[in-house]
């Protein structure tokens, strides 16, 4: 009859996994990555029935709970409550705030736009509403789409201009971050920070979840050092925990589409096509070689017999 009071039981409650990510929700993924970067052991639990909640993700340990809609977010609350703080001594750096503003405002806005408007909510339906009954899912989807457009300030008159502005800012943010990062392992010195969690979350979501036709995705892939950065951190901190290892981010850029299962299937399809090409070429080569031999034999065999007849006449 008593409740659980195991204070060493850290649990992060997020929305469900999808697209090869441990949690497909772009609001929940930063918290997950943050705890992974901090190498804090924790369990993952899912809530798939409350897509319009601002409380998710939340972190709990016994009777302690850190909700995402308190104290600036779950990461900030974990820092403030002393659970895990990767940003100690970094917050005073001048770049810290400006990069944070870049990631959590411009890039976040661009990602929100791309999920709900740019890709017409195809990904959003799968992430947020696939576990809800159809009627409820549809109503909540339309409601959230409407609220998001309001939040982004989109109207019929300014839709095109807003879109251009959002993508332009995203491009500039990628450019700035690419310059800032260079070939470093982390954004700041040689240690992970919450900004790495936010940025890595943005990158993984953009590359693995958004479809190939996504403008944002295309702009991100132009910066190869950012892609290498994401792949490095993913393989080092996240790979061991993911149940289905996903292919490298830069190897098959054309293979990432809206669904997480496709990256596994597409390399197999391409391999078989290449094999077919090679086999076809090999057949042509063999056929050409055979023809050459036949021609050589037939031509050279006719010449020698004539010479023999000429010698017999003397």
């Amino acid at each position: 009859m008593e409740g659980d009071q195991d204070t060493s039981d850290f649990t992060l409650v997020t929305r469900k996994p999808c697209f090869g990510l441990p949690t497909a929700c772009p609001n929940c993924l930063p918290a997950y990555i943050y705890l992974k970067l901090a190498q804090l052991p924790f369990q993952l639990a899912f809530n798939s029935t409350f897509p319009d909640s601002e409380e998710l993700p939340y972190f709990e340990s016994g009777t302690y709970v850190a909700y995402n809609n308190e104290d600036g977010g779950v990461i900030e609350k974990l820092k403030k409550d002393g659970i895990v703080n990767l940003d100690s001594q970094l917050q005073s750096l001048p770049d810290y705030l400006s990069l944070k503003a870049l990631i959590v405002s411009w890039l976040d806005e661009a990602l929100t736009y791309e999920i709900w408007v740019g890709t017409e909510g195809v990904c959003a339906s799968k992430i947020y509403y696939s576990d809800l009954p159809w009627v409820i899912g549809k109503v909540l989807f339309y409601k959230q789409t409407y609220l998001t457009k309001n939040r982004l300030g989109l109207t019929k008159e300014n839709a095109e201009q807003r879109e251009k502005l959002i993508y332009k800012r995203a491009s500039e943010a990628y450019e700035a971050l690419s310059t800032r990062l260079g070939e470093q392992k982390f954004l700041f010195e040689d240690r992970p920070s919450s900004l790495d969690a936010f940025f890595l979350s943005h990158m993984l979501f953009t590359i693995q979840v958004l479809p190939e036709t996504s403008v944002l995705r295309r702009k991100l892939l132009e910066h190869s050092n950012l892609v290498r950065y994401a792949e490095r951190l993913k393989s080092e901190f996240l790979e061991e925990s993911s149940s289905s290892p996903s292919p490298p981010l830069h190897s098959f850029p054309s293979s990432f589409s809206g669904k997480g299962s496709k990256p596994k299937n597409k390399p197999k399809a391409e391999k078989s096509e290449e094999e077919k090409k090679i086999k076809k070429r090999a057949r042509f080569f063999l056929a050409a070689q055979f023809l050459a031999v036949v021609i050589y034999v037939s031509v050279m065999g006719g010449g020698s017999s004539d010479e023999v007849e000429y010698e017999d006449d003397d």
Partner: protein
Amino acid sequence: MANPADKPDPNLTTRDEGEVREEELEDIEEEEDDYEGEDDNDEATASKPQTREDAAASRANAQNLFRRMGVAPVPVRVHDVIVKGNEKTKDHVIEAEVEGVRQATTLQELLEAANVANFNLRALDIFDSVKITLDAGPPELPDTTNVVVKVVESQSPLAAEIVTSTKSQARSSTLEGSLKYKNIFGHGDIWDSSLAYGCDNSGEVGLGLYLPRLRGRPTPFTSRLYLSTQDWLKFSSYRERALGVSLGVLLSKNHELGYTLAWRNLIDPTQMASRTIRRQIGHSLVSDLKYTFKVDERNSSLRPTRGYSFVSTSQIGGLVPDSRTLRFLRQEIDLKYAVPLGFYRSALNFGVSGGITFPWGSGYKSRGSSVSERFFLGGNISPVCSLGGPSALWGFKTRGLGPNEPRREVEDDKSGDTYERDFVGGDVAVTAFADLSFDFPLRWFRERGIHGHVFACAGNIAELSGNKYRNFTAPKFLETFRSTVGAGIVLPTSLFRMELNYCHIVKKQEHDRAKSGFFMTFSTPSS
């Protein structure tokens, strides 16, 4: 003041049979000579005998008839049922309620059937008055009679009312105000819009439709579109909102079938919920079928002194192809028995209630049941009056016992860390009670129905779902039973039954919200 606890039986006359016969006889006297039909506008004028000799002859005939009725059945056949006065109401609606008179073969049976038909028509609640009279049949057909049903339709189709009841879902007394629009389409249909408020901070606004018959069958049909809120923040740290439609069909007197389709949302605006409640927060779609078998042979639902009642409710949720709807099974049983003891109108009431719920579908063993479908015990309802499943237990506060968990830890500026507990309910619950009620010697109390009672009750609740059935054992369940004894005064009013009791908690568990002392309950007739 008549005792409001007495429940009228619609199938029996409330007066002496002799008085009924005399009144019916007067009707027969008035109509006996009227072979050509009566005057629709002025019944009294048309039935007035023309001469004194005719009146004397009619009276003599009637007395002869009455004597014959007292000796042996008087054969009679109903030739025709004539309906008058209905301008809006369809004939078939009225004829369906008086159908029973056609089967009568004797005058005695006919009078009884007419009485029942009269009650049925009044129960439709769409007429201001109903009068059934027996007219002589055609002269060429002896021993026949025409049954004339004269109704006066409600002048004002709008009606407002305020009632108190105990809704089984809310599990508490509810005050409901409704506005009804009657008989719009002439099928006896009653449309209503209502606002209800419960003692457990629940509220509901709804639109309903009641049909006395469905597709010609004698099965009343109800449908309701509702938006309800139940606030359990104080006890379990969640608030439940539901938008849904419910349909109900009364298959017969004892059998009722209902279907509910609702969008349910559990939220925790305080963000203080315990772990189990946190996992339950979110949206769900409920599609459930409910069958209720109910027999209530007690002489009163507010002060039963004789009879028994039995209610069995079976529910199955998730009967749609979509596996994402809430899937659960739920069964409740309630049995009560009252034995009169013969002095000071005393009676011994026994009762036992039980219920069980469990999810079904893939992963049903490890999946926790929905908190909305679980059982909770305690509250301000008397177990004597509550009908349908375990819910009430004297001495324990609302949701005051059973599985509980600590709430979220919050720092209190005044006294350091403080946190309370959430009662999360159980999947199996059992309650039992015994109650001895008796009148006080003083006449003043007896006249007002105020009486006393002593009682004892016990109950327990446990979790089974979410793999917790592995920890459940019958000995442990019996060992952790809670129990209470007490005595009190019962004050019945026209709207509800109030008890002022002193309860002594004999046994409780840690964290139960109960303590010995004075306790009030408010109970209304169960719906």
